[in-house]
Symmetry: D5
Subunit: 131 residues, 10 copies
């Protein structure tokens, strides 16, 4: 499979990994606090250890501020990971940082619910609150 | 499909969009705080981008004050959206504002649970509390 | 159907409607706070507008004080509504008031979960706390 | 709503109703018998009696012969019914006839599973086998 | 409750019991065999022994011949049983006979799925095929 | 517990075990073939080996001939087993024989679905057809 | 059935009813707060009014102090109720008091979830916190 | 783990593998055809390739002839596999042969439903009919 | 995305597409008919029209003859499709042909259950029986 | 089975029991609070009383500090218990202590959900918060 020695390297420099940008549109109700929950049921990456695909459901729940995330652009952002070797824990933290940078939400939580491997299941949750 | 250039225009002026009024009846138990949860399992709009139909379940949970919303009238209000091109996020905020204007509730929460599109699901939640 | 013009009248005078009394027995553990949840899965009334039957699940959760409600008597109380034209919102508030009068509980919550009508579902919740 | 006196007329002449054509592509495996099951979870029509929307899940299971139905074209075919006043029983038989005409399958079954109305649910099933 | 001595009498003369007629409309596709399944989720009668209400789901699956049953009329037919004291076994056989008389179907099956009583559940199934 | 040495003896003479009789009433529709399915969700016996209770769901599906089984009487028949030490396999065969003797059905199937013991679940099925 | 006049008497003196003791073992981790949840899916008593069996799921959730309850002994304790005529409300309070006496937990909650009777379901919850 | 080179050897000689015998008791109803379904929800073996545990649900459905299988003895038979390195396909065929030898049933089917490994699930089914 | 003009070409020449071979091992029980069901819950391809990923569950149920398919090799075979633009209908027929070529089974059925796209779901089933 | 007299001894000295160590890797996001939930669906031990296997689902939810637990190493740690005779309550507390020692998390909760034994189910929960 696609797995090369650079994959392990990647995990230690995961925060520098370049990812596609996510587009936004102007929030018409930014005078109010409300929440948007977007669930991607079809997320896949590569396991950096085995080079085999991993599968997950990624859920983003956020309170927009000035901008809302454009759904089609977010979907394309997720597609980027299809060929990337990356740990479960890093996926969720990376998505969180990119999401915060794109639309500067008041609050956001990202959950990655990864498929069973060897009888074990992993769920990672990370969040952010604007100060 | 019905989708025209005015749809995109509409999203930026969504708060001015004229909608049908919702009728009410006098709350016989307005001396008490209680809640009414109404779920419309058959809500549909038009996607402003593709002109194709969108489908959702809309749930309104409110604490009435002087007036309760009349169910049949609310149902007709929802039917208005069947031919309207409108974003998921705007549907929920628009319904919330119209509902507050109709019966002036003590408290209300509106949730729109939209069907899967391209492997992604969206839920929008907005609320209001009378001061 | 049984629906007459007096039904609409009834909604405006619902709080005066005479209902059967509910029997009680002495709570042997009234020195303690505990809760009893009774769910009637087979509740039916008449819709005052159409004269057609409505169906609901009614759930009562209470903390007894000196008295517990006798189950068979409560069941007969519920049967009273089988021929009564009454709004969903009124059913729950009426049952709450009658229940409080019968056993004077420390706390009680009544929920009425009504069947789908025209693609819409209604749940009404009302509660009481002894001061 | 859109409901006019021509709707009732329509039910008696339903078999003459003009509907959009469904496109096809050449079946590369037509030397074999296999089945394709397509389920539209988002089907809606108008009730000819009340003028109010009806909702259903439509499932088509067929064994293709020389041609397979093109999915996007089928989806647009279904959209045609969004503004049509038509009985549940007619929907299923009409879709069956149009489907048979489009791709001339060896075998096909159409099922329409309509949402609850007044506490009652309707499912209609019709089929065809090429002689 | 409404239970009188005539109820027991009724069980032995159940086949003579007068019931409301069920209306029909002309089947536009009577040249084809197809099936219609109608499920009434809100059926209720009186238990002839205790005078207390019984509840059931009644499902009718039929292949129409010249006529289809009109849904609203069928619903009113079911309402007739709301005040009738009748055994579970008799309900299903009675509905079957009345249904056959109304629309003369090619084939029909009636199922009555009655609620739990004393930890026991009863389902009755009866059918008819035109010769 | 109640378990004595006579329990093991009982298993070898299970077919002679005296059980209560089951009452019947005259089938008003005996000119027709139809089925009645009765499920007892609350069946319990004693395990002859450990003297501890066993629990099961017992389902009887039959086509009555001249007589239908009276439900309350059947329920009391089931209660007999509450204090009897008996194998799962014997319960189902015994109930079948007693049921056949009581109402002489055209056809009957008895299923006993016993609760998990030591990570293992047992279901026993036996049937009878009148010749 | 086993039901005698002493049963009704019993309800008024339920707190004096003698029950079997529950054994314990020394908690090796009593320096920590942790919880143990034990659910008995196979609990049965006798209804004092009808003499017929009642069935329930009993759940005990506790934080042990110096002692943990021995599971086999607890199971035998539950078996005691198989022949006892007792109200639902009394079962839960009685089990709670006996449990507290046996292992002196820091905290405990007992829930009894009783099977449907006459279309009605009952759940009783009682708790205790060591001061 | 326990995995040695003899494991791979074992797969080619799996039919000679010695397993514990399964005890039986005399079928009191051998004059009748009935079925017994035993499901072991807690079966585990060792994967011969990785030396790691595999888990499965094993279901045996049989029509006894002269003998019924003794449940406790069957459970001990299943425990034998806890330390055995064996393919999924071999487990089911081996259990089938051993079961047939123990009680000589008229008919038997064995199903092994193995847990997900690497996103893939395996179910193996084998049967036998006495001639 | 990876989508190029050669994709559309591919659909008309799908039967010539080169795929990886699937390894097998010798069936130790080839004197018996038994079935093996393998379900891949994590299958993904590219939609030839949009260049976006598609997702499916692929289930293969077969009766082996001389050879059984090696699971790890099958899994790698499935991975091949991750970057291939191919129709749903072609996936199932292609997998069927490759599977038959690899282990020459007595019988096999392949089912592809594809994720919802635009409110529509597709399931394709194809089978083969050795003559 | 493997059960010897040393097993009972073990329960009183469970805190001294030597277990395999769990490996870790450096948390790249230790400047943030996020949670990782790992569920082992395939955990098994030996019951110290009967020598028979017990089965459970073990769930660990933690907030990492400087280190994250390596999944494969954790899986091997769980395998250690396959041959160990140990109480349910001890499993959860032991896993908690070992987990805290391995990666020094900010917060962790361990839950063990054990399979039904004799109609009873046990769930044990223990937690830790770094001061």
């Amino acid at each position: 499979m696609k797995h090369t020695s650079t994959y392990d390297e990647l995990q230690n420099h995961i925060r520098e990994l370049k990812t596609p940008s996510i587009e936004t549109w102007v929030n018409q109700y930014h005078d109010k606090d409300y929440t948007i929950e977007i669930t991607n049921l079809e997320f896949t990456t590569i396991c950096p250890k085995t080079g085999l695909p991993d599968y997950a459901t990624i859920c983003i729940t956020y309170t927009p501020d000035r901008d809302c995330v454009e759904l089609k652009s977010l979907k394309e952002y997720f597609l980027f990971y299809r060929d990337v070797g990356i740990f479960h824990e890093h996926v969720v933290n990376k998505v969180l940082e990119d999401f915060v940078n794109s639309c500067q939400p008041r609050k956001v939580e990202v959950t990655g619910n990864f498929n069973i491997r060897g009888g074990m299941k992993t769920i990672v949750r990370a969040g952010y609150v604007k100060e």
